[in-house]
């Protein structure tokens, strides 16, 4: 058996990932191996999974999907998903978009690029959103914008903190101007949540770029990132084409952003839950204590 959780996590057989099911199953559970792209060490998938998909040798953070993150962050059996059935439509008849959506649903076993819900984190009630890298690289169209907006509106109504994990290539070109408008819409909802005195913690993961960086990803009261996550407005290739020179080593990585003053901290995936619980504890309101 392939250890579930390493690659993609189909919710059921019907929605399963065809690529995954075509992989021949090895005879012994621990025989599957991957090579760490950073230190090149061979790692057993079972070990990697136990270590939250972080290389034990060098700390490289493998990409994980939204369901895996929810499992890592939320207290067991507390996550209650909302708006799980919202589906993107090809609103401006953009070429190839219907096919892209279909493939994205197969690749990710999700209906769109963000999963939202309520949960407990260390016993604290929270609203949680987690973006899905295997759905069109977490690009933001109407559905993503609407789900994030509804989550913040609900959190404002219930006076709950929001914890959000971003991974995104930016606004979803295939929805044209309507995707750009999601930046304004989500920012408005974050602002209302903010002005009502509620806490929003953003965790930026690799990569967080474009319209998501330029909206809700960087609007948290506290913004942290995973080690070496690429974070920027423009993608590195676009910048290289614009300025016609190679970018320096480490440019737009989390460590660079921390140095420039745009992050509060870099938090290893294995420490994230503890870190979030501590922040929630530090923001505990007097009447709750």
């Amino acid at each position: 058996m392939i250890k579930r959780g390493l690659f993609k996590n189909p919710k059921n057989q019907l929605e399963g990932n065809p690529k995954l099911s075509r992989t021949p199953a090895p005879c012994v559970a621990d025989e599957m191996c991957v090579t760490c792209p950073s230190c090149k060490k061979t790692i057993l998938t079972s070990e990697l999974s136990e270590n939250l998909s972080v290389c034990q040798t060098c700390g490289y953070h493998f990409r994980i999907n939204a369901r895996q993150r929810i499992n890592i962050i939320s207290d067991a059996n507390t996550f209650c998903e909302i708006d799980q059935d919202m589906i993107s439509q090809n609103r401006i008849d953009f070429p190839e978009y219907d096919k892209k959506l279909k493939n994205a649903r197969l690749d990710s076993a999700e209906k769109d690029a963000v999963v939202c819900g309520t949960c407990k984190i260390g016993g604290y009630d929270c609203c949680l959103f987690v973006m899905e890298p295997y759905f069109m690289m977490g690009s933001m169209g109407i559905v993503v914008g609407e789900k994030i907006t509804r989550l913040f509106e609900m959190a404002t109504e219930k006076s709950l903190p929001v914890v959000g994990f971003t991974v995104s290539g930016g606004a979803r070109m295939q929805e044209g101007i309507l995707s750009l408008m999601q930046m304004a819409k989500t920012s408005g909802a974050v602002k209302r949540h903010n002005d009502a005195g509620n806490l929003y913690i953003g965790v930026l993961t690799d990569p967080t770029t474009g319209g998501v960086t330029a909206s809700f990803a960087t609007e948290g009261d506290i913004v942290v990132a995973e080690p070496s996550a690429l974070i920027g407005f423009a993608g590195p290739r676009v910048i290289e084409q614009t300025i016609r020179q190679k970018l320096p080593q480490g440019f737009q990585r989390a460590e660079f952003l921390l140095e420039k003053g745009f992050l509060d901290a870099i938090v290893d995936r294995r420490e994230q839950k503890k870190y979030l619980v501590r922040l929630l504890y530090l923001h505990e309101k007097a009447e709750q204590a």
């Binding site: 101007i177 930046m183 974050v190 909206s215 960087t218 407005f233 676009v238 300025i243």
Partner: protein
């Protein structure tokens, strides 16, 4: 005119820029410089002026006319300090209860090392949040190109107006073509796909008003001036909370 003709008209050499509109529509425009944090970004001009007898804050993305001026204004592509300068002026407008008028004309926020180092994404994001809650009327007018987040950062407004030959899109036609067809020369096809004309945007509820350019520059400015005055007078009957609710709902319902 097809979508690509509109893109070319929006970018045409000799097309009036923000400064031209400001000088024609307002009096006593007094430019105020700098973001108080890093520098003064010449891609964005900002200041106070009179609209008839009303003091207003005016902000514009400025491309410049001569080659020398275009270079000094970075061809109208702002850095984070430009957006922060604009926000500083908006906060002053809020303090002194002046309406805000933004002129938008940019291929996009600048993509470069300095822009990233100083937080281009964060600067735009902050403007989106703050504009949504700015306690004075805000109107944004697209006079040429409206390039993605760099244009949106000055257009979270009560109303977004567009000249008939202005465009507004999530990505440039060139960028779209190179992603879709790996061929950045297919701008004509990409322009159609993106639905970026003023008519398209009106049908989506992104813009409330389209101005004809047929009568020429001076009548156009007169019409913009009249509409600004009328709109700000109408806004007078709203409470601040109603104004902000309307602004929130405008963006809340687009695409919904």
């Amino acid at each position: 005119m097809n979508a690509y003709d509109k893109v070319r008209a929006a970018r045409a050499k000799g097309r009036p820029t923000s400064i031209d509109y400001i000088n024609q529509i307002f009096t006593k425009f007094t430019e105020l410089h700098g973001d108080r944090r890093f520098s003064d970004d010449k891609a964005i001009i900002a200041g106070i002026a009179k609209l008839d007898d009303m003091s207003v804050t005016v902000i514009g993305i400025e491309k410049g006319h001569s080659t020398k001026e275009k270079v000094s204004r970075n061809f109208g592509s702002a850095h984070p300090e430009g957006y922060r300068k604009a926000l500083r002026q908006m906060k002053l407008a809020e303090k002194f209860k002046r309406p805000v008028i933004c002129f938008v004309d940019t291929a996009g926020a600048f993509c470069g090392i300095g822009a990233e180092e100083r937080g281009q994404g964060q600067a735009i994001a902050e403007n989106l949040m703050e504009m949504m809650a700015l306690r004075v009327p805000v109107i944004s007018i697209f006079i040429g190109e409206g390039g993605s987040g760099g244009a949106l950062a000055l257009s979270v407004a009560d109303e977004v107006w567009m000249l008939e030959n202005s465009v507004y899109s999530v990505i440039s036609p060139e960028g779209c073509a190179s992603i879709l067809w790996k061929d950045s020369s297919k701008t004509k096809e990409a322009s159609e796909c993106l639905k970026l004309t003023a008519e398209d945007l009106y049908s989506f509820g992104v813009t409330e008003r389209i101005f004809s350019e047929k009568a020429g520059f001076e009548p156009l400015c007169e019409e913009i001036k009249n509409q600004l005055i009328a709109t700000f007078h109408r806004n007078n009957s709203l409470t601040t909370e109603e104004l902000l609710d309307n602004r929130y709902r405008k963006f809340r319902k687009i695409g919904g």
